[in-house]
């Protein structure tokens, strides 16, 4: 098993859901495939899709919803089988 950490490519606000009324994209324990959107980063009224880079299981979401983050902030970890 290998743990992959997804880092923010740019500064902004970290969002776990597409809309305040929607459920989070992922919860800890969810299975994801490479290319799945797992979070958003909003900056300048633009939203960047944070995608899983590998197939695996989300083990930890490291940042609270709607937190301001810097580039290279560690966002979440995915464990591959």
């Amino acid at each position: 098993m290998t743990t992959h950490t997804i880092e923010a490519p740019m500064p902004g606000v970290f969002y776990r859901r597409s809309d305040p009324d929607e459920p989070p994209y992922v919860e800890e324990g969810d299975s994801v495939e490479a290319g799945d959107v797992v979070a958003l980063i909003g900056v300048m009224k633009n939203f960047y899709d944070v995608e899983a880079e590998v197939n695996g299981t989300v083990t930890e979401v490291l940042v609270e919803n709607e937190t301001e983050i810097d580039a290279e902030a560690e966002l979440l970890t995915i464990e591959t089988d």
Partner: protein, 320 residues
Amino acid sequence: MIEVLDGGLSSTIQDDGRFGQYHIGMPPSGAMDGFAHRVANALVGNDADRATIEMTYGGCDLRFDENAVVALAGAAMDGDLGEESIPMWESVAVDAGDELSLEFATTGARTYLAVAGGIDVEPVMGSRSTYTLVGIGGHEGRTLEAGDRLAVGDSAADPADLAGRSISDEHVPEYDETIRIVLGLCEYRLTDDSREELCSTEWKVTPEADRVGYRLEGVELDFEPREQPFGAGPDPSNVVDLGYPVGSIQVPTKPIVLMRDAVTGGGYATVATVISPDRDLLAQCRTHQSIRFEAVSVEEAVEARRRRRERLAEITEGLQ
């Protein structure tokens, strides 16, 4: 033609700006970092008014249908052209069929891609700059998307002479965190303490920072209490409507620096104006970065503008 494979986060076609329309409420738009835009153009043998692609934070992926010469300037962005990595601040030959793939900016916020001949979109009111708020200029008045096809203008220069040109390291700007301002038009509305705090505070760029304005976070600035004159709004930060200088700072609670796509006038007191060479620097400040304002006189601002022009002329001459 250039085909857009991925438009990046927020990329638009920009030139020097749309001038002479401010009185009808049309802001200039144009490259946020005019210095980087002009150097990118100079590297590929273009006049300063040719259109470049302004990429914010995230780079584009592009495919070139024809041979071209390109240059990147501004925020440092890693990327590949075909199999090779592409340098910043240097002109590079592109072969027909090549793909250019750019990553996220690592320092600074905006990177300019110039192509010899310029990006050839139809000018609107004398400019190719995109003004997204009303959807004019550039490519369909909007940010670039996958599938867009961009025409390239004619270049007077021989492509063989254009590739491999670079500027000396001394001309590569450092994105300083001190931003010079001229106080006014309405700084008299601030309390003495707040006027001082404007320049002594470390201001943080918020996520709300784009081509329209940069909202800053720091201390709360206070205005002198007064009975508001007829025609002014009820908030102490309101004045009777005035034209907003490009780069002016208004304080509707938190300060906002008005940038090149901003509203041209209104009823907020503008307490200072960022001088034009330093608007280029501010355009490269990233969200969460800290800046400080330094008040200068109008004469010092004009002198700084003259030095910037001389530097650009020196760079352009050095490339010929």
